[in-house]
Symmetry: C2
Subunit: 399 residues, 2 copies
């Protein structure tokens, strides 16, 4: 039959980049492309034990649960927030299928076709896709290594009257950069003044490198209170425990949370009861902070290794900044290099990354790439960087 898809289908269309990256799933390719944590460090024994505790509680563990999510897990998360000085109640929190779902649900209840959403330049590609699928127009705000450019933000708040600003202020995807506190406060103040909702996406905030005394307060925590706050905050267990449990959370004004829950009920009724209860038992009986500390150090050493190799290889015209946390190094190649084209050669040489083009709302910088340093181990990273070096040589000879 002749299928008559919706007009929004176009916004979900597969990109050329995604088609190439599909080729990288095999073992033959060393991938710096995905945002995958190091699976050898997943706390498998602790997850197993937590699951057994859930099962020991009887059959109710497998029944339908609340759309808002398992209450004891929300309470435990509120406890973790309190330790960071964030006072939030379970009514101000919704559990989601990863933080991706929080982005989708908030857009669903808040954005009408034609609304403007301001974003960073560059920003998380799957957020851009969600925004566009609901008919939003995305406009990017300039920034530097300290965060958003407040003057440009103010100008664009005036010009576009956006409904929402989407940011990843701590160890950004894709750039790895982290805003200083002044920029966080400045952005909060401007958005408060203009009734602009901030969606603060914070999947990487716990993966901090270097000086432990340095802190990066979330914008959410800088707002005077959660009630009536212009900030909605989302995070996830995908990077600190494991992605396979697909559990994230979103916090904000109770009215927004109630509306998100209604949208979630239509979307999937609720996320996995079993995964949420397992995470609750894990938080209760496992030293998650100790585990995060361990993973942080491991990721910092992997980041330093990749940064060191970038310096050693010293490809002509390449530049990057060492991130202060997270999972990615953002690389700029020499101006003439189209990283999308380079990827094709790289995959032939057995290595992959994500070309920067997909992370831009408009005017993409084609000579950029996102390199993940958390997934590959030491030997893999050395070999992958050697392969990339050969690919660049070959590619340079071709262009």
């Amino acid at each position: 039959m002749n299928y008559r898809y919706s007009s929004r289908l176009g916004s979900f269309s597969s990109s050329a980049v995604r088609e190439i990256l599909k080729l990288t799933q095999g073992d033959a390719i060393i991938s710096f492309a995905g945002g995958l944590p190091a699976e050898e460090h997943f706390p498998v024994a602790a997850v197993s034990e937590a699951f057994q505790r859930v099962m020991a509680q009887g059959n109710k563990a497998l029944q339908y649960g609340l759309t808002e999510g398992y209450l004891p897990l929300r309470e435990a998360l509120c406890g973790r927030m309190a330790k960071k000085g964030i006072r939030v109640t379970p009514d101000e929190m919704l559990l989601t299928t990863g933080s991706q779902q929080a982005i989708d649900l908030l857009t669903r209840i808040y954005i009408d076709p034609g609304d403007v959403i301001l974003v960073e330049r560059p920003t998380y590609l799957s957020a851009l896709q969600v925004f566009r699928s609901y008919g939003a127009e995305t406009v990017s705000v300039e920034g530097d290594s300290d965060g958003l450019d407040l003057a440009d933000l103010e100008a664009k708040l005036m010009k576009y009257k956006p409904k929402m600003l989407y940011v990843i202020p701590t160890f950004s995807n894709p750039t790895g950069k982290s805003w200083n506190e002044e920029r966080r406060r400045g952005v909060l103040e401007l958005c408060q003044r203009t009734d602009t909702l901030i969606l603060e996406d914070d999947p990487y905030g716990e993966l901090k490198f270097g000086d432990a005394s340095l802190t990066y307060p979330s914008i959410f925590s800088l707002a005077p209170q959660v009630e009536g706050s212009c900030v909605v905050y989302t995070s996830t267990f995908s990077k600190t425990v494991a992605p396979g449990l697909r559990t994230g959370w979103v916090m904000g004004d109770a009215d927004i949370i109630r509306n998100l829950a209604r949208a979630k009920q239509a979307a999937d009724l609720q996320s996995s009861t079993l995964d949420q209860q397992t995470l609750y038992q894990l938080l209760a009986h496992f030293d998650l902070d100790g585990h995060i500390e361990f993973v942080r150090k491991e990721y910092e050493s992997r980041m330093r290794q990749m940064a060191g190799l970038l310096r050693e290889h010293a490809w002509p015209g390449v530049s990057f900044e060492e991130p202060k946390g997270g999972m990615f190094i953002w690389v700029e190649f020499a101006p003439g290099i189209d990283a999308g084209e380079l990827l094709k050669t790289a995959v032939q040489h057995g290595v992959a990354f994500v070309p920067g083009v997909s992370f831009f709302s408009e005017d993409p910088k084609l000579n950029t790439a996102r390199m993940n340093f958390t997934f590959a181990d030491e030997a893999g990273t050395i070999e992958g960087m050697n392969r990339l070096s050969k690919a660049l040589e070959k590619f340079g000879a071709l262009v």
Copy 2:
């Protein structure tokens, strides 16, 4: 701040009914309201064992997986389908967070605001909510106890040129009724001829009562082939294994499945890897068919108990049909009774059901109710029906 919600938020608004049903969560209320399976029969030991098998396979079990879902589980499901004579490949199947998500994703990729979706009268309330949230207009087609009225369907296909028809032909929610084969073939033929996509929702098909030799072939299985089929089929493990694992699947033409996967990537990247792998191990090592056989018999006996009590109480003007499977009895009270108002009195007496009003696309029959018979045990059902009897007496005296 002044929140500026999207116009589609209205479609998610909480109904008065839902607000009342929130009161029924405590133990003091006997609930015939939810569509909850009997939790005392969940195969907890088998789920536990399956989980341990997953964990024994190592850390990859907790890593990100494919948006389409865990391939071995899709293959195993294809095997189960083959036994029913349905030939489908893993490329023609997507795993979802329950079948609710399949309804949401298909609507997202297929429906534009203003498009018409035909539905049964009455039909699943959360499907109506999803359709409206994407701006669809829903129009219901008349039917009788054998299924949709083919003449009315044909007339409405001509009049409204709908993009989609949504049906639950086997042990419907809320009516429990099951279409005969002639109606299934008739609907398929009419929709094929008019390029109308059929979304066949089949969460209850395995819960068949009575003569085992009776079969209810899915409309999906009656189509000549999956490629180019006008039928998209969704089902779930929520009713046969347990809802807490939140795993459903959707089958259809490979192009539709590819597009659903793109939409799912934006919605939540993927469903729980852990739950999908656990279900795979369960299918491989547990006699699921034997378990379903056991649950069927148990549910049939619960249905007969509730039907018997309905006959015994013999409330003035009440009528119902015994369902041939599923989880619900659809009750019509005397014409003057507004079941929404009755519910308020019922909750005061410690019993709950769902008033029929929410299941109608238009012109609701206010004197109807959906009664679930699978959740409460024998003693609970007797007590609940006694309470409902008292509520009706009191209510009758009031009106």
